[in-house]
Amino acid sequence: MTDEISPDLFEHLVDLAAFAFDPEEAEYLRRELNNQLKAIHQLENVPLADDVPLASHGVTYTAETRAGLRPDNWAPCENPDEILAQAPQVENRYIIVPDIPHTKLD
């Protein structure tokens, strides 16, 4: 049985996900992905009539149960310094990141 996620496709996914793996890790992850896909393919055995809707949630929200939107009121953050202190690199209250590479789009 051919693996659905080939080594090339796996590398593409890894790049999109912004990961980097050693060969052993990569082999484990690719094998598990392919095994999970075997289970996922069982969904093809389920007869689906055209009127079966997509369910983004199990429980239906009604006008009575839906919380509704909060008023869009501005309120100051209570502890901005505490939140900034969580960032790995901060200078003069700016969060610092390394150079952002630029790609020229054709």
């Binding site: 389920v46 939140i83 390394p98």
Partner: protein
Amino acid sequence: MTLMDQSAFITAQKVKAGERSAVEVLESALERIAVVDGRPGSLDYGELTDEDKAKVHAFITLTADRARQQAEAVDAKVRAGEAVGPLAGVPLSVKDIFTVKGMPSTAASRILATFTAPYTATAVQRLEAAGAINLGKVNLDEFTYGSSSESSAFQPSPRNPWDTSRVPGGSSGGSTASVAAGEALLSLGTDTAGSIRQPAAFCGVVGVKPTYGRVSRYGLIAFGSSLDCPGPVAANVRDAALMLGAMAGADPHDSTAAKVPVPDYLASLEQGVQGMRIGLSPDYMKITFPDAETGELVEQDLPEEIKAATLHAAEVLARLGAEIVEDVPMPHTAYGIPAYFVISRVEAASNLHRYDGVKYGYRTQSDYHDLNEMYRKTRAEGFGLQPKLRILMGMYVSAAQYAEQYYARALRVRSLLRSDFDAAFDPAGAYKLDALLTPTTPTTAFKMADVYGDSVLMQYADQLTVPANHAGIPGLSLPGGIASDGLPIGVQFLAPDFAEETLFRAGQAFETATAAEAWRKIKPEVLR
């Protein structure tokens, strides 16, 4: 017998009446933790010793000083004759997937190991406001991704108090282990595919997955946002009902927290099951899983002991006046895990993209030249294998060219899983059930390391619990017996949306009626 061998309900009554102080109860909890828990989970854990293998390791962060301040505040109120909440003085542990202001909130992941939350989750805030004494954070599978708690980056991972060579289940394994070992009287967990009910069954305690929207998710570090449910872990049904009542209800911070009134669960607890229609389904008496070689589905009956415990519960409930309805069809049960493999991964991938080493959490300590390299190294070093698997699968099945084939199909199958329950609970339908009674898990707790690494087999541990997450309905697992291997067996009640009262009534009736049965006298190994 210590103060930690009493129920949360009785403890709160005694603290409120001034018969016991919250500080005394807390000291009893800390003593128990000192005896049974061993070293807390950490990133730099070294070799496991024989002593480690005999301990529970429920906790990552124990906040004894903070807990003492809370206990002293409760006692001061009692002395002053001021009102205290329904959980006054009750020691609580919190799964480390909830934020608590000023406390490390790690999700059991290296990527959040240094994160100190700047705000408190609504569920935690409400429990503390009700008088619960927060002991600290308990361990879990990394970002809740697993069914054994072994994938935590913080090792030693929790062990089953009934047999420390076994897993406690997961992902709320630290929660259920802490309650089973009497380290906490209550614990706050989360259930995305069975992560409260499965470890509750493995550890011989009560676990409740409330209706989706019954409890606010504000401050819950998200896994599958359409599936995640915070819920109680307790030693008995009354305590679970007490805890849910204290934390349920609408929340302006979470638009999915439903505007549905919270009933007084304790008021109806003793109403019994007379006239209640409780269903049994053959679709919950077997497991279906893909053959590792061919990928074809293989069907297998559940172990006899697991089936027998469920049938015993049905007999007990029938004697109490419930009408047992057999052969209720739940035809899509076997597709719960395949649909979950898609839906949960898409939601997990979306939620995990926020961890990038910029705003909070871990950033790689090695050299990097630009932002992309920093992202790659941070995420590769910060995430364990299970989050990586979920991100990769989530991206694959939701990619534009595959989304219809995988994601849309899974969401439509989710509709069918929901329709199984709608048909069973329809008051005008053929079955008119008040509740469905099923086994909670296909097996008792498995050996540490036996399943870990096989992500497919691990996921199928949730086969009997995950349909309720797809459907959003509430479920409760409670002890139903002890197997010949000496480990607890769980039985599960499932009920219609927001019918947690029904679960508590049925659970309480079963618990009371079986109180004198021999298996209930058996204690977890670490307490013998």
